[in-house]
Amino acid sequence: MHEQFPVQVSANEALTGGYFRLTLDAGTPVATAHTRPGQFVMLRGAWGRDLLNGRAFSVLEVLDDRRFSVLAKVFGRGTGLMKAMEPGDSMTCLGPLGNGFPVVDTSVTSLLVAGGVGLPPLHLYAREAAREGAAPAVEMIYGGRTRDDLVLTDELDAWQVAQTLTTEDGSRGVEGRVTVPLLDRLERASANGETVRILSCGPTPMLRAVRALALDRGVEAHLCLEEQMACGYGVCLGCAVPVHGPRPYAYCCTDGPVFPAQEVRWA
């Protein structure tokens, strides 16, 4: 049984770079308690009818069986309204939806490649790995335009997850995009005979670059995609993702949002 349930904002914390972390409380145990990294929720406030559908957000943190948080940035009107929300404001939530990343596997090194609002699934992944004592099996590569775009990095340090940060202007970490340290890391792995895989989420141009790199080098990669979604649960057929395989399109919400890189039919 899927659930759509009411939630209340219990905190709305402004971070650097215009990001904010919205903590939501269902008041009672809900299905988000069992969210897998990469799964998402459809959220909607009491917004009247000019904003018709829910908005999709990856789960950032599962705080307990009734509370979770999301990380967002103002994109359009819906995220604008969310940024202005205050504790006590109510929303409806549908989820968790979709399929997450492959489970933590200590036999390979998982390179978590994140950019922008693509951080949440990988942040949750890193947390899960740390909890399972598998922190050494994951490494974060996380990029932004400038230092303000890199948020919640302390938490990874606390979990002792190795992280390489990049900024395009060099204001923090490596100068350049995430593909710079990623390429280095893949070369090192290949030199060492080490098995690595890539789990990535972020802006589509970044995912395209990551995918190209991975396909090029035959490295296993899983991409968490964003598509326009009206429903989030497989009925509107709006969230098509072009794929190779028996059908030309898969659905981001039900087949994804995480897809093996080689399945995605991108130029």
Binding site: Q228, A230, L237, R247, P248
Partner: protein, 329 residues
Amino acid sequence: MGVTSSLDASGVDVGIDFGPIRLKNPLLTASGCFAYGQQFAGFMDLRELGGLSTKGISPAPRFGNPLPRIYETASGMLNSIGLENVGTQVFLEEKLPFLDALDISVWVNFFGTDFESYVECARTLGEGKDRGVSALEMNISCPNIKKGGIEFGTVPEVAHRLTKACVEATDVPIVVKLTPNVGDIVAMAQAVHEAGAAGISLINTITGMAIDVRKRRPRLATTYGGLSGPAIKPVALRMVHQVHAALPELPICGMGGIYSGEDALEFLMAGASCVQVGTANFAEPPAALRVLAELKTLLAELGFARAEDAVGSLESIPAEPPYKAEGAQ
């Protein structure tokens, strides 16, 4: 007569006769907004619905359109899904048994790519008669398919011919779903009525467009798409009212932007015998049952003993006292 009685706590008898089709209540879900129903089983008791209309079925399976396929507009959304569906065969074998078991009115929405395939589709789906199919909802308004299509839904004579052929191909009542992208909706309704349609569904989406000015590109890969949601409700209501006024004996299933019991009642008063909830399902999977509950409450509050009494119950605004231009220049 179904699991849920049409008479319940509200005291209102919500059973409706839609031409030859008996509905336990006037709330159906709309084609393309409810898939084949299964996804909703987790959210609601489907047996409480009056019925549902499936995603549009064509003789052969079809894949959908390139992306992007959807875009939100002010109080509405554009879609260009491309009538993706599993085809008649898979539908009858894999999807219908689930629906049959619900014991509600199952309307199988269908379309063809040309005259013959429409008729073939009606004939094949009509075989589902004893397996739960209570009506075939013929979509003659496919803004999203390229071949043929447009004339079926916009030229009364063509619609008449097509409807007649499909009606003759099957024993299952045919409900024709009309497109609002015409100048004279009454002429279209009359044409299909005279061809033997058991009723009509009004309205399908209105063709629209949106542009991403930063990319200089349409928001949808197909450039145009169908507009649905609250934005189109006034247009839908007007068409239902026009057709009901002209053809009071033709059963109408009304839809377009229904999000509340009050919206649904507007459609009934305008002349619809039943309604479908489409886009509203996306944000709220059990929307149709909330709308039904609200409708019952509202009918009771307004003193309607039977939902049927509300159908076409609109009165006109009393005339103003006459104006005498005494001091007029």
